[in-house]
Symmetry: C3
Subunit: 352 residues, 3 copies
């Protein structure tokens, strides 16, 4: 995504703005614009490293670092006690991947190609995994909201930790599934996790490692700036923190990856586009969410109780993802409909 690199100019600008105490809303926007190309660079560097390490370790590195940006932003949000933002950004990433990214990909691809076919079998494995995982992840929340009585929080912390452990175990088992016991399913496409970024020629191993480390450090700095501006910005603009978490942060964290999905769809590589959107959702649920549950124990335990809006939007999204996958083909109208649901959900979140 070379064209995104021009946005790197916002790295120094945002730091200067922070230094001179600019308006917090301006700072938030500048930091957001700085993070977008950094996340893209991180993806390219990870991809380049994975080529040198061979497909298995490379696939693992890709899968694990694919959501590093979201993890870093969420870490600083946890540190600031912005639990609502962290939880809603987990839900928002899934919703954004399934409705916005998949919608844009299917629409953009569908405008160029009348009907696009994809390998149903691969996508069904991911999409049914996403369904089961989201059911597992949301059961504590569903149970909480359907109860009249208020239970002690400690019980729910325990349940959240159990859910976190189960999710991470499934994540590890799914890597074993993809890279060992059933690696042949994925062989045709050579899809390993998120390894679908186009690799630029001329990345040496050392350049890649250097870029990865540098990008990680700068993202951390920018994330702290971004997160620091959330509260004042929401007050100034009358937005809810919830809206920032569920709509804005997922777009920032995933912009680079998302543009890859759209470009792949235009190139008629729908398998890759779907795998980015659905696979990325799966990593959020099975890897990012549990890591954040565990990290929260460092500060103050965050129970993984999504609110009703997040629940409805999450569950609707995974059903839609399953329906799309089930077809084995897509057309532009399907893309329009996913985007329509995304717009309605966003508008509903906005007025909450």
């Amino acid at each position: 995504m070379k064209f995104l690199r021009v946005l790197l100019i916002f790295v120094p600008i945002s730091i200067i703005a922070k230094f001179f105490n600019f308006n917090e809303t301006v700072i938030f926007i500048l930091a957001a614009l700085a993070i977008i190309p950094l996340a893209g660079l991180m993806g390219e560097a990870t991809e380049a490293i994975s080529i040198y390490t061979g497909p298995k370790l490379g696939g693992f590195i890709n899968a694990t670092f694919g959501n590093a940006t979201e993890l870093i932003i969420s870490f600083f949000a946890l540190k600031k006690g912005l639990f609502e933002v962290v939880k809603s950004s987990i839900a928002g990433s899934v919703i954004g991947n399934v409705l916005l990214v998949l919608g844009l990909s299917i629409l953009a691809g569908g405008i160029k190609h009348k009907t696009q076919k994809f390998n149903k079998n691969i996508i069904e494995v991911s999409s049914s995994m996403l369904l089961f995982s989201v059911i597992g992840l949301t059961i504590p929340a569903i149970f909480t909201h359907t109860m009249d009585i208020n239970l002690l929080n400690t019980k729910y912390e325990g349940l959240s930790i159990l859910v976190g452990i189960i999710m991470i175990v499934i994540y590890i088992l799914s890597l074993i599934f993809s890279f060992f016991t059933h690696k042949d399913i994925y062989a045709i496409e050579e899809i390993g996790g998120n390894s679908n970024h186009k690799v630029e020629k001329g990345w040496s191993m050392w350049k890649a490692i250097f870029v990865l480390l540098l990008a990680t450090i700068v993202i951390a700095v920018e994330s702290e700036i971004l997160v620091g501006a959330v509260e004042p910005m929401t007050h100034a603009l009358g937005l809810s923190e919830f809206f920032v978490g569920i709509i804005i942060i997922p777009i920032i964290g995933n912009a680079a990856e998302h543009s890859t999905a759209v470009i792949m769809a235009i190139k008629n590589k729908m398998d890759v586009a779907l795998e980015i959107a659905i696979g990325s959702s799966l990593q959020i649920v099975l890897f990012v969410a549990p890591i954040l549950i565990f990290l929260s124990l460092l500060f103050s335990p965050m129970s993984i109780i999504f609110n009703e809006f997040e629940l409805v939007a999450l569950i609707a999204s995974v059903f839609i993802a399953n329906r799309v996958a089930n077809d084995g083909e897509s057309n532009w109208l399907e893309g329009v409909q996913l985007l329509a649901v995304y717009i309605i959900v966003s508008a509903a979140f906005f007025i909450v």
Copy 2:
């Protein structure tokens, strides 16, 4: 549906009954019996016109006028301020189409033919469109009901109008999809909207236009009579307006069309039967519902917040429609089960 024409005798009878101030329950029943054959005539006339205009314009005319009866009844209900009846009849039309019409069609067809196959690909386009549209249409309601706080109504009016605009845009795009970009999918069957009424020979263009205009005027008169009798009848019989809207009005407005679906199923034309039931639901959600939202602005804004019963029944119905479509074949037992769900839903609505 020539046999329904005998019911036209109820047109003068109902007007006389209204004139002499008969019991309101009797007036309601007489007006209902009068509307059934009028809706059928309107369908036949529309169909005949569409033959003269050629398939594209004809398909559009069919799709647009297919639900004219429901629109006219709802217009007078809106005018009388019967918002509950209007909203519940939108939900009830979808439920009735998916559970009652599809159930009767599959049962009647399945008794004559052991296993009936249908073109999965066409039906899947409609049924997944129905799923996405209903999710979009119901998100404002789902969000409202899961919230503790009471929001200002104005916010929800705005959201309802946004949903209305998005639905009508998708409706227009779906016509472009069916009649332009992807018209070949439908080519085999020559299904255009609801154009599945058997066309009687000997309908001249002018006769068709005359019948259409006349039927529209008479339906408008009968609808005003019908709607005027709703409140006194519900009081007299102890029925809820909700029950009238969700069960009775959809049966009246769609009886002619519904009998077509059953006859097509018996003739083993399951594609046509399913397309009538699912396509008709789709038009309600994408065309009738937004038009009613906009029309309500003339009187007093109606927010498209379905109640919990409507929500549950709507969502259950679209999942069932998707499950049925997914099979690619049907048998009598499936029909029995759809009818069983319809009976249980109706009984639950009755005792609410």
Copy 3:
């Protein structure tokens, strides 16, 4: 399941323990251990009888007596007024079959066989029937919980009885479907109801009838002992009756049948394993639940209003069952995910 027969030693032990007024928790465990092999023996005897009666009557006997153990336990629970236990054990049987039994079967089978295929068409008939039936069975409960006002119980008793009648009618129609109008679908596999227990050689007709009668009587005795110990045990251990009903009783009642499903999966007979799990759920919903509604009229009417937890878990289970069936194939990771959902659901039930 010959290896389970060693557990028959617990029949005399549990009776002695009851006679000498042992600790109630100990009595509960002993009675549970006694019921497991008795249920297995009952299954084998039913199976043996069905061979002598020919496939049609045999299939009917199998289908009807397949859940005799659960019926007997529930009868004594009804008699003791433990309505919560009865209702939650209905929900728990479906959840246990779909998540625990199917999960264990798919995992055990998947460890030995890389990818297991099954006849999608047969399984889809059962799984979509299960979906429709569970929607029908739960509509009264969904409606009740989404209402603010408290309705008179008598209305819900009437609705429960209507649902019971509809379910039993569908059950009878489904037997007609399986054994008469569409018997050829099942012909390849010779699956009739639950007739998948391996038949031991050397069972004469009379031996089978004698064992069946004896096992029924002893199960009745043990069930009364078991049910009598539920209340004191739950108090002693701090468990809820709800947890006993939804997790523990279904495991006891189905252990023998469940081990058959797992063994079939290991032998790569996935059709049989799935048919046991899904078919058994179907019998619970269509046969056991209505019989219990009718039986409750002998004591005090039990309305079939599941609580919110049961609802969520039931509906999630049938969607998962449909998703699994839709694939037409299974692998070990899918088994792991079903078990993960079961563990999370059980933990959530435990802390309620």
